[in-house]
């Protein structure tokens, strides 16, 4: 009874604390849109003109994974009556199955909240942000539509790597920051310590922190009040010409592209003719509205407001994120926009069975409609058939994308080892002419240009932030050095916790760095990274040869220092993955013509079943016929027969020990 009783009392208190008066400002009653998508069509549209710029606040919640961002969002939605209060409100803004399963936000969602404070009705636009480093691009995109953020920190775990990264994103965007210490109900909560960390690291006075329990609702209302008091309203004017920033877009199979927009000036309504500053294409607006968090049509949207727009765009690329929309014949200076999402990790993707190619193709097309940060290039491999080379924001992004393919489209695919986008500065005039430029990006080892025609190779780097209890520092430093990282900073954020900053070559952290870090710190260290540009690197292409013939899909670009270890490791792995054959097989790692590692798979000298009499024949025949079938599926490299899964078995695991 305890909890239920408390909840009921809490709810009653909240209800009664909402002033029933102020009719001028009360929004029309919201239909329970969150239960039925698009349920609101045909119902009365909201009039958004009652929310002038001064009563609008646009904000995001940013936090390290699991610090309670989504739970706080759920509470805010409940308190403002945006969604009904039930026990089932968990991660309301996280609509994807994979988000709910993994407890992370992948795709930013938005919701408009209505809240009365000191007799004034406020429109609070909550713009959700993804909680993982891979999606920091989405975070900065979300922040561009905001004037402030709620920075949530776990009262037990304290500041973590992503807290730092997110803070700086907000800080650099010059947003108001409201620090919130969550989970104060936990037994091990130590809000004082976290407040000190925040003061030390972010220079925010201790008394500005709000201590809350999003789970229990404690002090959540105070957070809303802070949002109103501390976050400035957007600086814009309805009298100005229309200027709308597209900060996200989704694809709906029935209605086409739904663009999420933030109005930096003017107003917009159905029937308006608008133009994209990016494509110069003209559209007629079919519908505008706010997100609650599902689409809720309104008559108009006004300057400072955040909502959605449907205007007959057929493809997500038409609603370019960062694009500025303006009224036809009333052009405006476009907003700065964003750099387009930059893939950090590339991998080959192939159907498990080539007959599935077309199904996979259409699934990919549909999925990338909603995730334009994935880049897709057609590719083919002798071993794996026709497929694609996909670019992802990070490894989690790649995993999530793969999981969405499986869950939402029932596709199972083969993913090759991830690689990072290297660059080469060409010195050969012929090649420069061929590529049309001197600096090329290499996303497939097969395209690695020879050293003779290159003046310099470059590798992508990231600035990594690690926050860890101090007892793990020694091991972490060794791990980082092993990954060719250079220490940039080391700071005690309190007496027990240290923040380390390292410059990493991206390829060193792409596959298993996070796992290694977690395991050597018993899960206590956290990690985040940001793009840090390119650095010159001694890169080489390593080939794997079977009896002298190169195995195209195992060619890798690696740092010279790691060549021997990686070559040896790949050869050993391949030796285990290829069955013995009737002749000896030399498995070699080579750089150019130089062999740097070799394993020998000896020939079969005896392979014949000892007993074969009447009783065993049926089983025997089945086995042999399966082997005969298997032979047809083998990839032949020279005369060596390699099972298809051999490459995957070699590639899938890390190539580092």
């Amino acid at each position: 009874m305890g909890l239920a009783g408390r909840t009921a009392v809490w709810w009653a208190r909240l209800r009664s604390s909402r002033p029933a008066a102020a009719p001028r400002c009360l929004p029309p009653r919201l239909p329970a849109a969150c239960q039925r998508p698009y349920s609101s069509r045909g119902e009365e549209k909201l009039d958004m003109s009652t929310y002038p710029v001064e009563s609008i606040r646009n904000f995001s919640i940013i936090a390290h994974v699991d610090h309670g961002k989504s739970t706080l969002a759920d509470r805010l939605l409940e308190i403002t009556g945006t969604i009904a209060k039930t026990d089932r409100n968990k991660q309301v803004l996280d609509k994807l199955q994979v988000e709910r399963e993994r407890g992370i936000t992948v795709k930013a969602q938005s919701a408009s909240l209505f809240y009365n404070h000191k007799g004034i009705n406020y429109l609070l636009n909550l713009i959700d942000t993804p909680g993982h480093v891979d999606f920091s691009y989405e975070v900065s995109r979300s922040l561009s539509a905001c004037q402030g953020v709620i920075l949530v920190v776990d009262a037990n775990e304290g500041i973590q790597a992503q807290t730092v990264a997110n803070f700086y994103l907000a800080f650099e965007a010059q947003l108001a920051i409201i620090p919130v210490i969550n989970k104060i109900d936990l037994k091990n909560a130590d809000p004082e310590r976290v407040e000190k960390q925040i003061e030390k690291l972010f220079d925010i006075p201790i008394d500005e922190c709000v201590r809350i329990s999003a789970k229990q609702g404690t002090n959540v209302e105070k957070v809303l009040q802070k949002v109103i008091e501390k976050i400035p309203p957007p600086q814009c004017n309805t009298a100005d010409p229309l200027k709308a920033l597209v900060f996200d877009s989704t694809f709906d199979h029935y209605r086409g592209v739904i663009a999420n927009i933030a109005l930096f000036g003017g107003e917009i309504q159905k029937g308006h003719k608008i133009v994209s500053a990016h494509t110069k294409k003209r559209y007629e607006v079919n519908e505008v509205g706010i997100l609650t968090p599902n689409e809720q049509p309104t008559h108009k949207l006004y300057a400072g407001q955040v909502g959605y727009l449907i205007a007959g765009m057929k493809e997500v690329t038409e609603a370019q994120i960062g694009d500025t929309l303006f009224l036809y014949k009333q052009p405006v200076e476009p907003l700065p926009g964003f750099k387009s999402a930059k893939p950090m990790v590339f991998a080959g993707m192939y159907p498990v069975d080539q007959t599935e190619y077309n199904n996979l193709k259409s699934a990919l097309e549909r999925l990338t409609l909603n995730d334009s940060s994935v880049t897709v290039h057609r590719d083919s491999s002798l071993a794996l058939g026709a497929g694609w080379r996909l670019g992802f924001l990070g490894l989690l992004h790649m995993e999530v994308f793969n999981q969405r393919l499986e869950q939402e489209y029932n596709m199972s695919v083969i993913l090759t080892a991830p690689t990072v986008p290297y660059k080469a500065v060409l010195s050969s005039a012929k090649l420069i002419k061929e590529y049309g430029k001197a600096e090329i990006t290499i996303i497939n080892p097969a395209q690695f240009p020879d050293k003779l025609s290159v003046s310099e190779y470059l590798e992508p780097t990231v600035l990594g932030t690690i926050v860890t209890p101090h007892e793990y520092i020694g091991k972490i430093i060794v791990l980082c050095q092993d990954r060719r990282a250079v220490q940039k900073d080391m700071l005690y954020i309190d007496e027990h916790r240290v923040m380390l900053k390292y410059l990493f070559p991206l390829n060193e952290i792409v596959v298993d760095f996070y796992d290694a870090l977690k395991s050597l710190s018993s899960g206590y260290a956290s990690f985040d990274y940001e793009d840090a540009g390119y650095q010159a690197a001694d890169l080489i292409k390593m080939d794997i040869l079977l009896n002298g013939n190169p195995v195209e899909e195992l060619a890798t670009i690696i740092h010279n220092d790691k060549a021997y270890a990686t070559g040896k490791f790949l050869c050993e792995r391949l030796k285990d993955a290829i069955p013995r054959q009737l002749f000896e097989i030399a498995i070699q790692a080579a750089i150019g013509k130089k062999i740097i590692a070799r394993e020998t798979l000896k020939a079969y000298r005896k392979n014949v079943v000892a007993k074969c009499y009447g009783g065993d024949i049926t089983r025997r025949m089945k086995l042999l016929k399966r082997q005969a079938e298997g032979k047809k599926l083998m990839r032949k490299i020279g005369n060596v027969e390699v099972p298809r899964d051999a490459f995957i078995r070699v590639l899938k695991r890390q190539t580092d020990k």
Binding site: R580, R605, K606, V609, G614, I617, R620, L624, Q627
Partner: protein, 391 residues
């Protein structure tokens, strides 16, 4: 045709064996006998064979059955078809149930060839294999058998035991050569799933015999036996003075055989019910269930599958290449009147490549393995099956 009645019971489970066998406290022998007799009659009639060329009592441990049971089954065979006096009648025996009086009883019942499961002449190895007998008992049993079945006693030996050295194996074989008659079967130990020995090896408690050592052991053994005058007539079988196992040859020559008893396999054309195609048949595995079926409908056939012409040819190939005679043109022609051996394997393709490597021969005799190829047969067969399937 060749009936092969199965006695499914054993006294003890050997550590390496995954055959269909049952260790029970008491066997109702009269009931089992009645069922073996009845099923023998039913199936022989169904096959409508005129004359039986061999009978092979397998198991389990058929030497645990009483001579009376063996006699009753042989009478049933003779009652349903012609059983010439020259027909080979083999019984598998364990040294622990093969004293002279018992063996004499089997001879009186009509058995004229004995296959003795010696396995090893080393007590430690025998314990590892979970055998009931000692090396001394095995010697005694083989001597007793040779006395009763001179020239028609075979011994089984196993090599490639975990931890066994090349020397130990050569010494063991040397000893066996001093003991044996004119037929020897040499089996490389196969680690079968579900057996105690495999579990120990895969669990790491015992060492995995290295591939190259196994190949050396096999090579040494073949050389030693050939030097002792034996003909290496099948992958694991050696005979001198013409003492080949007629019955086992009938498997490898893809002749008809009729499995009788729990879990027995057969390949025959059920002409008695108007059948015209060779069928693969399996009898019910579990002895009690099998007996109930035999009692109610005369046989315990659990599964019968008509073999397509291609499947029959695949079996002819897979089995025939295990023998030194290989697949003869005549036998191939019997199963494949339209596609000759030459047409199937003479054209450029896998068989030709294997011939060039010296593993295979296709000539006037037929298609067969050379000595080096025989040891690699299981790697050659998938290629040959691919080639056959394309025709």
């Amino acid at each position: 045709s060749a009936p092969c009645p199965q006695w499914p019971y054993c006294r003890k489970r050997c550590s390496y064996c995954n055959f269909n066998k049952y260790v029970v406290p008491a066997v109702d022998e009269a009931a089992v006998r009645a069922c073996l007799v009845r099923e023998t009659r039913t199936l022989l009639r169904l096959s409508q064979v005129q004359s039986v060329t061999s009978v092979f009592f397998g198991g389990g441990t058929p030497s645990l059955a009483s001579p009376r049971t063996i006699a009753a089954v042989l009478e049933a065979v003779a009652g349903a078809a012609h059983l010439p006096a020259s027909a080979e009648v083999t019984l598998e025996a364990n040294p622990s149930s093969a004293g002279t009086p018992r063996l004499a009883g089997f001879r009186a019942a009509g058995v004229n060839r004995l296959s003795m499961g010696v396995q090893s002449l080393d007590d430690a190895e025998l314990r590892l294999l979970g055998r009931e007998h000692t090396a001394a008992e095995a010697r005694g049993a083989v001597e007793a058998a040779r006395g009763l079945f001179p020239g028609r006693t075979s011994i089984d030996l196993i090599f490639g035991l975990p931890g066994q050295s090349q020397d130990a194996w050569a010494r063991g074989l040397e000893a066996a050569l001093g003991l044996c008659d004119d037929h020897v079967s040499l089996y490389q130990l196969t680690l079968e799933r579900g057996t105690a020995l495999a579990a120990q090896v895969w669990g790491g408690a015992l060492p995995v015999p290295p591939q190259d050592l196994l190949a050396d052991m096999y090579q040494t053994a073949c050389a030693m036996l050939v030097a002792a005058g034996f003909r290496h007539y099948e992958v694991s079988n050696f005979a001198r003075k013409g003492a080949l196992s007629t019955h086992n040859l009938s498997y490898w020559r893809a002749e008809q055989y009729i499995g009788v008893g729990p879990g027995a396999h057969g390949r025959f054309v059920p002409r008695g019910e108007g059948g015209r195609s060779r069928e693969a048949r399996v009898q019910t595995l579990e002895p009690d269930a099998w007996m109930r079926e035999v009692q109610s409908r005369g046989h315990g056939t659990r599964r019968r599958v008509v073999l397509s012409p291609l499947e029959q040819l695949e079996e002819v190939l897979v089995l025939g290449l295990r023998t030194d005679e290989g697949v003869t043109h005549q036998r191939w022609g019997h199963f494949s009147p339209h596609l000759s051996l030459q047409a199937a394997f003479g054209a450029p393709g896998e068989a030709e490549a294997l011939q060039q490597r010296g593993w295979l021969v296709l000539d006037g005799g037929g298609l067969r393995c050379r000595r080096e190829g025989l040891a690699l047969l299981d790697s050659l067969l998938p290629d040959l099956l691919c080639q056959l399937q394309r025709r």
